[in-house]
Symmetry: C2
Subunit: 222 residues, 2 copies
DNA sequence: ACAATATCGATAAAAACATATCGATTTCCG
DNA sequence: CGGAAATCGATATGTTTTTATCGATATTGT
């Protein structure tokens, strides 16, 4: 029995989509092989790190001096990440962010399909947004369960997020993609993936702050 | 000379906004003190970790049995992250995502203000979007430099991202918030912060894949 | 066929990060 | 006042992640 699952670290899991992206960006006709050093150079990563990541994913391994077969590696990654199955999702909250997510076609490349949206604002309900039906939020639990959907996307204000989260859990979703800037409490078996824009902003802002501080102290010394 | 800058790890930097968020969510009148264990419990983190993070940020330290003064800690964090200065940014790309970002008022809380947008589509130009002027992209370098803006936000398709990135660098920005699913090459002193939705999706999708695999192997054994 | 080279896979070392533990300090309460 | 409880700050330990190193192997060019 194979348990390749736990061989890949969380950090690796964040890099793998970049590999896939890179592979997909290559002209399929011209490039037949890719090597770890090649990917590392393109993505500005350490060569050994990439090689290790690939070793964990690739079914057939790479060949010295040549590397991996590009298309084979591509589908290995897709299989590994489960992008081959279509993962159906429901989205809650049709504000600006929710609409942006509904409008983004790129999710198809990642096997994600948003099949319905929910909103508490009754006036939006019964319209379609970018081809997806919008339902009132009181139908969320029942409908999501009947659709047998496993992913819930939360795009509501922070105040409402935990409540929506509870409903999604009750409806039987297994993973939640949370865009609300708040910590969600869930049962153990549920995965919450926070889309943490505040964290990104913090890193940005801190970077500028540090550069500012550095300049200041230079001034004070000179 | 003080160099508190490098004492905080990258991971800590990702947690700190959550602390701030939590602090801001507290009713200011009722809660005067917060402790590390209190925050840890609320955000489901390790108590020691939170304490260490706070120690690096707090100017005055905490008191045994009491913790930290909430409002003081709040402004310590804001100062640390540079949220007290207003960081002005320009945004490139006014598709669905760009518009969603322009419409989001919450950035003010993080000291970020988007003051102008750029787009290659001339028909959009000269309109305002959510109160911000939209300029043609050929004005990007000149205008951004004259506005003395230090943050650039990239919300264009992957194909155009590197080109836009180069322009932003030429215009003198110091940090780039990249929403395009592609690796950007920049000079050393420039910080690129990737908003990596693909990575989040990968983690989600892989979680489901693992649960699916686990079920399968159970079936095969029973 | 053989040497030079690029890559792989594996193992080892180093660095970053998280968690546990302990004495010291403050507050609370009897 | 004195003991119990909660928290702090610091140090030590453990874990994860990254990076370096080394021998083995496939390819290329002579």
């Amino acid at each position: 029995m194979v348990h390749e699952g736990s061989a890949v670290s969380k950090q690796a899991l964040r890099r793998i989509p970049f590999y896939l992206n890179y592979l997909r960006s290559l002209p399929e006709m011209e490039v037949q092989n890719v090597s770890a050093p090649m990917i590392a150079k393109a993505l500005n990563l350490n060569e050994v790190q990439v090689r290790k990541d690939l070793a964990a994913i690739s079914s057939s391994g790479g060949r010295p001096k040549t590397g991996y077969n590009a298309s084979e590696l591509t589908s290995d990654i897709e299989r590994f990440l489960g992008y081959q199955n279509v993962n159906e999702a429901v989205l809650v909250g049709t504000g600006h962010l929710g609409r942006a997510l509904l409008s983004y076609r790129g999710f198809e490349h990642y096997g994600l399909e948003i099949i319905a949206a929910f909103d508490s604002d009754e006036s939006i309900v019964d319209q379609d947004i970018h081809g997806r039906p919008v339902f009132p939020v009181y139908k969320l639990v029942d409908l999501t369960r009947r659709l047998n959907v496993r992913i819930g996307i939360i795009a509501v204000p922070a105040e409402a997020a935990q409540q929506v989260c509870d409903m999604l859990v009750e409806a039987g979703v297994l993973a939640i993609w949370n865009f609300a800037p708040i910590h969600l409490t869930v049962p153990d078996h549920i995965l919450v993936q926070n889309e943490n824009m505040a964290a990104s902003l913090a890193i940005l802002s801190r970077h500028l702050q540090e550069m500012f501080d550095a300049n200041e102290s230079l001034d004070n010394e000179g």
